[in-house]
């Protein structure tokens, strides 16, 4: 079973073999799966709708916890040598006249983030003032964002997402079929809304890096979608007898191993970023994690199912036949 001993099969390969024989040959999808994805479609639609509703509801009711990038104001990250009591710290700051100071712990028990709604540009001695009140602390980071910059960054972020969506849709429409582009577009809107929903629901700070993460996810989530689309196109041309639903189902199953694999590798890597990357890019890493999970789900379901729903059919993929009528 382990194959003929090749002349060139040297010691290394024997070592590899003995090690990997036992451990490695794990295949999650030993054979091709035959899951009726489109049959489960109505459940998927229900789930998607439910999640979308929850997300939109939370966004409407709670809104987003906008980060400093968008609101403007000042933020100080200070660090103590020992763990700090936040209530005592709040009181100290209150007494010193920082009435609107928002104090929260930041990453560790030694680090504290103080947010102030100061809109003044001339706050250059803010750090000195606060450090005077808290002599044991030392400053790790100070940020001031003017309100105008905040507005601009918000507009830029929204514009970036819009342009990226448009660009990607145009690409798909050109490369595949406009019905696919439609499916992809719904998946593309579906994913960011769910990411925003999670941010809103759990009151996680939403900042500029999170926008960057959403954009990356939009691009990345389409990876899967495109691989499936590619396969659907190929199968439509190859399997002439099958219905559109069968072809789409088969294509999703054929690519399932790959979809799960890439998502899994990217997910573990992004989880590493989320766990070890520190508080400064936590928002970013988290958006990526959510985005990859949601993106995988949406590329399996939303895109393909929608393409069928809007009437995708073999004719759209056959090479154009020249209809030349030679009869008089």
């Amino acid at each position: 079973m382990c194959g003929m001993v090749d002349v060139r099969l040297n010691v290394y390969r024997l070592v590899f073999k003995s090690v990997f024989r036992r451990v490695i040959i794990v295949e999650f999808f030993k054979r091709q799966t035959h899951i009726n994805f489109l049959g489960l479609q109505r459940w998927a639609v229900a789930l998607s709708l439910l999640l979308l509703l929850i997300s939109l509801g939370s966004l409407l009711m709670n809104g987003l916890h906008w980060g400093l990038d968008f609101t403007g104001g000042s933020q100080l990250q200070i660090s103590f040598n020992q763990a700090v009591e936040l209530p005592a710290l709040r009181q100290e700051l209150q007494q010193a006249g920082f009435k609107d100071a928002l104090v929260q712990s930041y990453g560790t028990s030694h680090d504290v983030l103080i947010s102030l709604a100061t809109k003044e540009a001339s706050q250059h001695n803010l750090a000195a003032q606060i450090l005077k009140v808290l002599p044991n602390a030392h400053l790790k980071q100070l940020e001031f964002i003017g309100p105008q910059v905040g507005h601009e960054l918000a507009t830029q972020g929204a514009l970036a997402i819009f342009i990226a969506l448009l660009g990607i849709m145009i690409y798909i429409a050109l490369r595949f079929e406009y019905r696919f582009a439609l499916g992809a577009a719904v998946a593309l809107i579906h994913d960011p809304v769910l990411i925003l929903g999670v941010f809103s629901l759990f009151h996680i700070e939403f900042n500029l890096t999170a926008v960057a993460a959403i954009l990356a996810v939009i691009g990345y989530s389409l990876n899967d979608t495109i691989v499936i689309f590619d396969r659907i196109r190929e199968n439509f041309r190859k399997l002439r007898k099958k219905s559109a639903v069968e072809v789409v189902n088969l294509s999703i199953n054929q690519t399932l191993s790959r979809t799960i694999m890439t998502s899994a590798t990217t997910l573990v890597v992004v989880l590493s970023l989320c766990i070890f990357g520190g508080a400064m890019i936590h928002s970013f890493a988290l958006a990526l994690v959510i985005g990859i999970v949601v993106g995988t789900y949406s590329s399996i379901y939303v895109a393909g199912a929608l393409a069928v729903a809007v009437g995708l059919d073999r004719r759209h993929f056959l090479p154009a036949v020249k209809e030349v009528d030679s009869r008089p």
């Binding site: 910059v149 830029q156 990226a164 939009i218 691009g219 990345y220 573990v268 890019i281």
Partner: protein, 622 residues
Amino acid sequence: MLNKYPLWKNGLLSLLILVGFLYATPNLFPEQPAVQISPVTAVSNTDMIALNATVEKLIQAGQLHPISQENDKQTIFLRFKDTDVQLKAKDLLSAVLGDNYTVAVNLLSSTPKWMRTIGALPMKLGLDLRGGVHFGLEVDINSVIMQHTQGVIKNISENLQQANIFYTALRPEAKQIHILFRDASSLNKAKYLLERQFSDFSLTMTSGKGQPYQLFLQWTEQGLTRLRQAAIDQTINTLRNRINELGIAEPIVQQQGRNRIIVDLPGVQDIARAQQILGGTATIAFRLVDMRHDARLAQSSGVIPPDSALYDYQNQPVLLNKPVILTGNSITDASTSFDESGRPAVSIRLGGGGESAFHRITGANVGKPLAIVYVETKAVTKMVAGKVMYIPHTVEHVISIATIQMALPPNFQVTGLSSTQEALNLSLLLRAGALPAPIYVVEQRTIGPQLGAENIHKGFISIVVGLILAVVFMAFYYGIFGLIADIALAMNVVLLVALLSLLGMTLTLPGMAGIVLTVGMAVDANVLIFERIREELRNGVPPQASIHAGYERALATIIDANVTTLIAALVLFGIGTGAIKGFAVTLTLGLLTSLLTGVMLTRALVNVWYGGRSLKRLPIGI
């Protein structure tokens, strides 16, 4: 189906990887604390050699032993073992060399010299990784336009007077100038004259029955753009000079958008001082003290003579004549010095106009007091009709009143400053020239050095852990093929780092996140290929043919799948700023290198390992 790459292809790939390693290596060398010395104004080669000798003598006398002393064109670099010696050297050198040289501390890479000569340098670290201050400054363009319009009005009036064209009114309006004439012939003559003189304006005239003869000069778009750009350029220049005076290594001053300037000062921690230097448009004005009126009376009664303004000087009221006899623009040089009694002072040298008038006026007022007013422009943020506006207001305070001893020559001293620090600040501001327009701080980020170090550490850990996870995952699932993909993945990181270093990119924390994400996504190409090969094998295709088909068929899909991410990354690059751009750059470059390693390199390795043999099965996890 032999699956062999031609020799040139293997050779090219090997060469590429070799070059990749070469250019990625500099990032492994630790940074050394260094001191850099450069003259404030460019000097000749012989002077640099002399400076070199002086520096060498000084550090020998001070028992400071640098690791090396190197010369660039206009800079001397001294490397030291630790920061203690570095700081000692900096203090010693800046004390002895004085104002004509900038002595700055810096961190230099300990990359060997031969690597540096072939341009193999480490990536620059962004502020979030090395600590420092970032400013976003906005230039008040409206005040530039106003100032310029005033100047143009003066010019127009001179022009019209010279040409004997009479007008009844000449006044500025929003972005245009309005001139009123008595008759049509004056109007036409004026239009003909002014049209050729002021190309930045478009001229329209209205005349007709019952209508006044008016001429409007309106700023053209190009004119305004030119004006704005000139103001921004001059501001950047001035800021650069001021920052150079601060002695900061590798500062960044650049335009962002239409009227923003960003300033990155690595390693700076004293925000207050940095902002003082950058933020306030400080200039000085020399004005005579009004001796004809009683300042106390004016303060208590509130009746201030029309030609004067009331100020406070050392808690005493003082009246100053409104006319400014000299402004900061006429000052060509200013340096700290001490007056006869040893108190801090600023020595000023004049040039570029105004000095003769200054000499004449001070000569006519010997024995009378002369006040120096420190004029600083600050901004107050207000919401006006739902929009955020920065409203500039000037803060003026009298910093010195001294009796004029003589008709002041183009070289004189300002005394009466309270501290050396104040003298230093004032001389800095004066020497670096005035800003053409007020600037406001609209964004500021300060990152402590400790946080920077933490961020590097965290970013590095995430990359390593992510890489290990992806490597283990692939090897586990795809066996030997997985290991081949792992080699390609590691090469991908090496190539990406090499490319970033070679292009002189600045590494930021989001940039590191981009590398992590690339690691995660790079295996995608291999997963696609390997899954394809598995499928072919399942369908009974022989191994060699499966390999071939797997690579061939997956390629189109791989490219399609990467294009969308590329679109998103490019949009981010185009729209994003600062750190976000760093992420976009690493992501884009990472996608490109991963195509190379994921497709070409793995194929080459597979070909070397399995190509040209008869195989019964493939260790690809099935």
